[in-house]
Symmetry: C3
Subunit: 139 residues, 3 copies
């Protein structure tokens, strides 16, 4: 049994879904682990992780539209406003999605379904550099 | 330290919660792992995983009712509509719940609480065959 | 490769976020694992886990406010009401957040970002004793 860990940085330019499935695949290949468990963890509280459809870009448009409508920046009862009107909504969107995802690995590849892509879900408007930790254990 | 992996198929007949706690327990028993970590991962983007109360079926009725009301099929601003009116809401419900759950294992059993059951949460109306990957590592 | 497991109890006094980052750090230190993967799992269906900002307490106020407004106790169409008006909303809030979080460990510490704290998210009004299972595997 062996394990390895890497940290990558994803540069974001505003709200959206940033596909980093390829980075995960590269990490798994470099690790030499053929069967095991990969874990992806985002080190922030105003962006998150999402596994979603990678085929039709309209899915991403609607996903963003839904979260914008569910957690609008116009909620005037918020008290945490010092970091801008998009900050507290970003924390809430992060709470509603995932900070960590575990993905089994077999034959040197993550067991993602055909239509599954791995995304960083950025909830802030301003550009950010997001750190994502990746860990794998197996054989 | 050892590990093993299995993939199961869960046949769904419309929206609802499908209990597969027993399949997880069987997988853990077959693996021979007594102490370790089990991971369950669903290979789709229009259904998801949920750990919820396994006692009163009314909980499932209300859970479905809430998600139907939070993410209605009547959202007429959606652009991803080619796969039917329940498809994009299914992707959103999937984003709001979980695609992957890690469960510690001890004495050959998952450490689920007394009232916790493991469910596939189907968000589509039509029947589907859903693939769930299960992985365990331990001793 | 080695692994270890502990269960802790967190006493809650009503709805709120209960920081137990220190308990996780202590568990990792006691385990002797320097590099690996830690998993935290809550054994209940009316509270959940959340990684959120640990700096400004206003974030917690707004987080609670949002979830209270998204899943109000006043939903009069609920059928699961035997355990009180806050019980079914608690199950729903639990479904919308996380029951399990995997966190990579390096240099004997979880790779939490500077502003990330680990919280038990209590959704019930009455005091409860909540069991959280922690597992770590690594070297």
């Amino acid at each position: 049994m062996r394990q390895t860990r890497e940290q990558i940085v994803i540069s974001t330019q505003g709200q959206g879904l940033y596909d980093f499935t390829r980075a995960l695949r590269g990490f798994i290949e470099r690790s030499g682990v053929v069967d095991g468990l990969a874990t992806v963890f985002v080190r922030h509280t105003s962006c998150s992780l999402l596994i979603q459809e990678n085929a039709d870009p309209d899915v991403q448009t609607d996903m963003l539209g839904f979260f914008r409508s569910l957690v609008p920046e116009s909620m005037d009862w918020l008290v945490h406003t010092t970091e801008g009107p998009d900050d507290m909504p970003a924390h809430i969107k992060s709470a509603l999605t995932q900070v960590s995802i575990g993905i089994p690995v077999t034959e040197g590849r993550p067991v993602l379904g055909t239509w599954q892509g791995l995304y960083l879900f950025e909830h802030r408007h301003a550009p950010h550099r997001r750190q994502v930790a990746m860990h794998i254990i197996g054989e």
